[in-house]
């Protein structure tokens, strides 16, 4: 593997230029409407410079510090999921005679995403396992996934809601990316993983890193891990969860839960979607799928019966799947410790706290 190179912050735009020259459109995080959102990135100046995130259960705020860092924040509500698993898309159309016409998956231009965190890379591997199951690849997901290049940033400023260290998914980005940045006050230490990353690394106008940069960068990321106070109970929780389906805590959290599905929408691994028919007045029709949730009535509906009629059973379904059944389906827990479900729960329910109460004593 080539040695990491150094990109001083004043030349940050060289990263975008190199990606563009390699044929990628560039997507990156930006401050918009008081949150951090991923979108087309025109220049490095548009990155979220000088902001930090203060988050707690049910609360997420940006705080301006003015410091000279572009990535001193923990994640916003979304990162890669909407770029790959579209919130809403048409699968096929039928004409007025009822003949199905395929809606070819929209193949976006090759896209480079800057700023991807370790938790989101871990989540991406899980989404891949679900949507790219060998022999049954989801063509719509695959069309977006095929041209994706990922520029990770090792996380140095986790929010209070983060617990990736306890799930083993962060804060250091370990796999799934093409380039990775270690951010320091004066610049980015850039390293490559894999062939595409190495070609880009060679094309970047890099300098030799200042003395001790690598050590300082590693120290910051290690401190980010140590700073995390939330921890999921240890070990695979599958058996413990399914042994405790009648735990009284499910009913208690069901009292507070709004069953709004916000947690599943911001979860980077939740994949549930619903199909709906959109008939047109001209006789044509479109078959559309869109993000849905195990917190909806429709999720457990079978002609006239709703198997999960209350918030208790829906919350339990979510967590027994996410932290339990996921092991059997995909070989690991479906939780990557990003803490989004905690921060973006309008009812301020804390998954870690609930898990401690339900399975933490074993």
């Amino acid at each position: 593997m080539p040695e990491p190179g150094w990109l001083p912050l004043q030349r940050a735009d060289a990263l975008l230029a190199t990606l563009r020259e390699a044929g990628y459109r560039v997507v990156g995080p930006q401050v918009a409407d008081g949150i951090i959102r991923y979108g087309p990135l025109g220049e490095a100046a548009a990155l979220p410079w000088g902001v930090r995130v203060e988050a707690d259960a049910g609360r997420w705020r940006l705080r301006r510090t003015g410091e000279g860092r572009a990535f001193a924040w923990a994640n916003g509500p979304q990162a890669l999921k909407p770029l790959l698993f579209a919130p809403e898309e048409t699968l096929w159309r039928t004409d007025a005679d009822g003949r199905p016409a395929p809606q070819a998956p929209e193949a976006p231009p090759p896209t480079a995403v800057i700023g991807v965190r370790a938790c989101d890379l871990a989540a991406l591997a899980l989404l891949d396992a679900h949507f790219l199951r060998p022999g049954r690849e989801d063509p719509w997901y695959a069309a977006r996934r095929s041209g994706l290049l990922l520029v990770a940033v090792h996380c140095t400023h986790p929010a209070a809601t983060c617990f990736c260290a306890s799930t083993g998914d962060g804060p250091e980005a370990r796999e799934g990316h093409d380039l990775a940045l270690w951010e320091l006050e004066e610049g980015w230490l850039v390293e490559a993983a894999g062939a595409a990353g190495e070609r880009l690394l060679a094309a970047l106008p890099l300098e030799a890193p200042p003395a001790g940069a690598a050590e300082r960068a590693r120290t910051e990321v290690a401190a980010a891990a140590a700073a995390q106070t939330r921890r999921l109970p240890e070990g695979p929780l599958q058996a413990r969860l399914f042994e405790r389906l009648d735990h009284p805590r499910w009913a208690q959290v069901g009292e507070r839960c709004l069953a709004c599905g916000s947690c599943t929408a911001v979860c980077p691994t939740c994949f549930c979607h619903a199909a709906e028919e959109r008939p047109g007045l001209d006789g044509s029709s479109a078959r559309v799928r869109r993000w849905s949730s195990c917190f909806t009535e429709g999720h457990s509906y079978i002609h006239g019966i709703v198997l999960r009629p209350d918030a208790r059973s829906r919350y339990r379904q979510w967590l027994t799947h996410k932290l339990g059944a996921w092991h059997a389906q995909y070989g690991r827990s479906g939780c990557v410790g990003c803490g989004r479900c905690i921060a973006w729960c309008p009812a301020a329910i804390d998954l870690v706290e609930e898990m401690e109460a339900i399975v933490g004593d074993a």
Binding site: R136, F242, C272, H273, E277, P279, S292, H299
Partner: protein, 283 residues
């Protein structure tokens, strides 16, 4: 990474026509479908117990079990019970109407593994379509199987569809047909009571049989427990499960029961595997 295209018949429906329809009861219709592409129709392979997704343009798409014979019929049989918006519209389709088909999906009945032994079919309520294909399959390949026992329970005597069919089956050699109604009417020569009571009178080799069950979960749980008490191994009991299925490809997530996607790992499950979550409220 190569980008796969949506596969017609799997990701996208292929056009089909209603070639025939049989009104089985006021609320149950059997549709005989033919794929418009004759080559595709000829190449369509499935196992009893598998299902297709039937897409009615502008209305919706629903999973319906395939009730025809995979080798003997030249059409796809689908018995549709009018229980919701889409099935009501499907059941009204006239001959010649066009609809879309994706499939076949899921794991069907283990009828290959069942060869050489007795086959016991137990169906409750009106959800008996998935087992009808299995019964016909065994009857068409009579020498490959031992005794065939068909037990069907209904709530009200008048709910029984295919009455003539059951009577015809009962006349076949080595076939036992047992029927039960919770509430009997005037013309009901068979049992009155739950379908599980029929097990006592069923004659089959308990150590060498395959049980196929379909119907309400409480009925299947009671029957499976009774069968185990009678000495039938749990691994020989198979249940067809029903959950909300929207994609049939293990993608949309609706049909999960614990770790299983019913559309892909089922709809037919072995009792000993699914037992821990069977009947657990909320799953």
């Amino acid at each position: 990474m190569a980008t796969p295209e949506p596969v017609p018949g799997i990701d996208l429906p292929v056009p089909a026509r209603v070639a025939g329809r049989v009104q089985e009861s006021p609320t149950i219709v059997t549709l005989r479908l033919e794929l418009e592409d004759p080559a595709r129709q000829a190449a369509f392979r499935f196992a009893p117990g598998q299902f297709n997704m039937l897409h009615l343009p502008g209305v919706g798409e629903v999973p319906i079990s395939i009730s025809s014979d995979p080798d003997h019929d030249t059409f796809l049989g689908h018995t549709v019970r009018m229980v919701g918006r889409v099935t009501r519209a499907l059941a009204r389709l006239p001959v010649g109407a066009r609809l879309g088909v994706r499939g076949p999906f899921g794991r069907g009945w283990p009828l290959e593994a069942a060869r050489g032994g007795d086959v016991v079919v137990l169906a409750g309520g009106l959800g008996c379509a998935p087992v009808v294909g299995a019964v016909r399959y065994v009857l068409h390949r009579r020498r490959d199987y031992g005794r065939l026992v068909v037990m069907q329970g209904v709530k009200h005597a008048e709910d029984l569809i295919w009455r003539a069919q059951y009577e015809a089956w009962a006349r076949e050699p080595d076939v036992q047909v047992l029927l039960a109604a919770d509430v009997a009417g005037g013309d009901w020569p068979w049992n009155v009571g739950p379908v599980t009571e029929l097990l006592e009178g069923a004659r089959f080799d308990r150590g060498r049989c395959t049980v196929l069950m379909c119907g309400p979960e409480p009925m299947m749980i009671a029957a499976a427990r009774r069968l185990e008490a009678l000495g039938v191994p749990a691994a020989a009991i198979h249940l067809s499960m029903e959950r909300n299925m929207q994609c049939a490809l293990g993608r949309c997530g609706h049909c999960q029961i614990g770790p299983w996607f019913v559309c892909r790992d089922g709809p037919v499950f072995r009792y000993d595997r699914i037992r821990p979550l069977l009947g657990v409220r909320g799953f």
